[in-house]
């Protein structure tokens, strides 16, 4: 049985990675998950310098989902290079580094610093709704997305995956812009912007007022967008948004995703990603499917 897939020339042993920001640097979850059993570990967004992130509360539970406004707190790319990447290499994990920045220059600095590092793929986060500058501003306008994609692609040594925001009128336009600018792959969806009000305190639940909605609540929107994008562009897609189990992951794969990421589900069960892999295997056995690639985009 073959579970292996390929993203932009990089072979992954199976199609399951982790949602950036929901799996730390991988180290924290290594107590529960053999990192080398994952298709890849996708790390928390990293910038050129350390970021403090937003004030707390940073998370709020919502019905079937959660809001987060962590605000991309990260220790900066130097710490990642010194501490996290060696750890991941030793653990035998394929690595997707998620990159964030305030300006195009910030992004470029990070990808350049990573060029000689044991990093398989670069995921460029232009879709974080929780920071004032950068982030989603690049991800809601096809022209801005085109420009940053082109600029980053020029400097990046590893293949790049532009990560798209769902907070747009037409996800197909965004996907086309990223493809045209040379993105090697796409990942989607990042979180939907949401808000929760504490009616007892009569105040916002998050210090940042708004946050990004993730979890199974958003899965139907994510599957729809992945389907639309896969019907529009030729580059491979990593699908995510609300995957709790193998059935959810298979929806994305059948909609056209070459790989999937397990995000919020890690908070519900730290072993979620591994269970998704096992569940996909059982599905394939039960249905006599020899190669996962038979399932990619099989629903049209």
């Amino acid at each position: 049985m073959n579970l292996g897939v390929e993203i932009a020339g990089v072979s992954l042993k199976n199609p399951v990675t982790t949602g950036s920001g929901t799996f730390g640097s991988g180290e924290e979850y290594s107590e529960f998950v053999d990192l080398s059993s994952l298709g890849a570990v996708t790390t928390k967004g990293v910038a050129n310098v350390p970021w403090e992130g937003n004030p707390t509360p940073r998370v709020a539970e919502t019905y079937g989902g959660m809001l987060n406004a962590v605000g991309l707190q990260n220790p900066g790319v130097d710490v990642m290079i010194k501490r996290d990447l060696p750890f991941l290499k030793k653990a035998g994990a394929a690595v997707i580094v998620n990159v964030c920045g305030r300006t195009v220059e910030d992004y470029i600095e990070v990808v350049e610093r990573l060029s000689d590092q044991p990093v398989d793929l670069l995921e460029i986060n232009v879709s974080c709704p929780n920071v004032k500058e950068g982030g989603i501003a690049f991800g809601q306008d096809p022209k801005a997305l085109y420009e940053i994609t082109k600029a980053v692609k020029e400097k990046a040594d590893q293949p790049i995956i532009m990560k798209l925001s769902p907070n747009v009128t037409d996800i197909k336009e965004m996907a086309k812009a990223a493809e045209a600018a040379g993105s090697d792959a796409l990942s989607l969806i990042n979180t939907l912007t949401g808000m929760k009000i504490d009616i007892e305190k009569r105040d916002f639940l998050l210090a940042n007022k708004t946050g990004g909605l993730s979890g199974p609540a958003i899965k139907p929107v994510a599957v729809r967008m992945v389907y639309e994008v896969c019907s529009t562009v030729k580059i491979p897609v990593i699908g995510m948004g609300g995957i709790l189990n193998a059935e959810d992951a298979l929806e994305f794969i059948m909609a056209g995703a070459t790989a999937v990421a397990v995000g919020t589900a890690n908070f519900t069960d730290p072993c979620a990603a591994v269970k998704v892999i096992d569940g996909i295997k059982s599905y394939m056995e039960r249905h006599n499917i020899e190669d996962i690639r038979e399932l990619i985009g099989c629903v049209k």
Partner: protein, 255 residues
């Protein structure tokens, strides 16, 4: 030693006081690794609620493989939890966090409100001389008698119905008990008072903080508190309550 991700069976559950419940969970090997001041992430059995409820460990029984938690109904999740009967199984992750750094020095244990439960196992395990100060809203006290087995217990109530009228610091001052380490858990204003008092008296204070969590294991950076210095892990002035805490030296954190 490590964290356990298990299906735990409720051994018993009873109501302690208005909205306060006392639950014992069979957690297998987790019990023998748990420390006073650590907590568990409890998942409630309803699909609409994905995140864990962090609840402090109030009692540890390694022999019977159980931990005890005492919790207040604060919202929909704890409300649901309070309806479960013995035999119900829950996903539980733990033990989490660092726990108190137990010293063999004269101690003052301070618990306020729903910050009282974690002090019980600490009181039990601390072998030194100690004063225990418990702050309640009113005469609806809980766990007080159990604490009496481990040391002298002072009580404060907001309405003055039991013990000192006022807060726990008022009780400590009024009764002028001494100690060289304070261990405290309770609402933020109380912990601020504890921090100020410890500074004033030149005492060490270990305080247990609370923050909204998602992962509970240090990965998501939801639960940070402000640290005085740049933190060695995060490389910014944030510490993770779930992993670097929940217990901090009061001097290290700003809140």
């Amino acid at each position: 030693m490590g964290k356990h991700n298990i299906k735990a069976e409720i051994v018993s559950q009873k109501k302690l006081s208005t909205d306060i419940f006392d639950m014992t969970l069979n957690v297998g090997d987790m019990a023998k690794e748990a420390l006073p001041g650590q907590f568990v992430s409890v998942y409630v059995n309803d699909g609409s609620k994905l995140l864990p409820r962090p609840i402090s460990i109030c009692g540890i029984d390694a022999k019977h493989k159980t931990v005890r938690i005492v919790y207040r109904i604060a919202g929909k999740g704890t409300e649901l939890l309070s309806t479960y009967e013995a035999g119900t199984r829950l996903n539980v992750l733990g033990p989490l966090g660092n726990g108190f750094n137990m010293k063999n020095e004269k101690a003052i244990l301070i618990g306020g409100g729903i910050g009282i439960p974690p002090m019980l196992e600490l009181a039990k395990q601390l072998k030194c001389e100690k004063t225990i100060v418990l702050g309640y809203r009113n005469q609806d006290t809980f766990l007080k008698e159990e604490f009496e087995a481990y040391g002298e217990v002072l009580v404060s109530t907001e309405d003055g119905s039991v013990g000192t009228k006022g807060n726990v610091i008022d009780a400590v001052r009024e009764q002028a008990r001494e100690g060289s380490v304070i261990y405290a858990c309770g609402p933020t204003p109380m912990l601020k008072g504890v921090k100020a008092y410890a500074e004033e008296m030149g005492l060490e204070a270990q305080i247990s903080l609370e923050e909204r969590m998602a992962c509970g294991i240090g990965a998501c950076l939801a639960c940070v508190c402000k640290s005085k210095e740049v933190d060695g892990h995060t490389h910014v002035r944030n510490k993770r309550v779930c992993k670097d805490g929940p217990v901090f030296d009061a001097k290290e954190v700003e809140f």
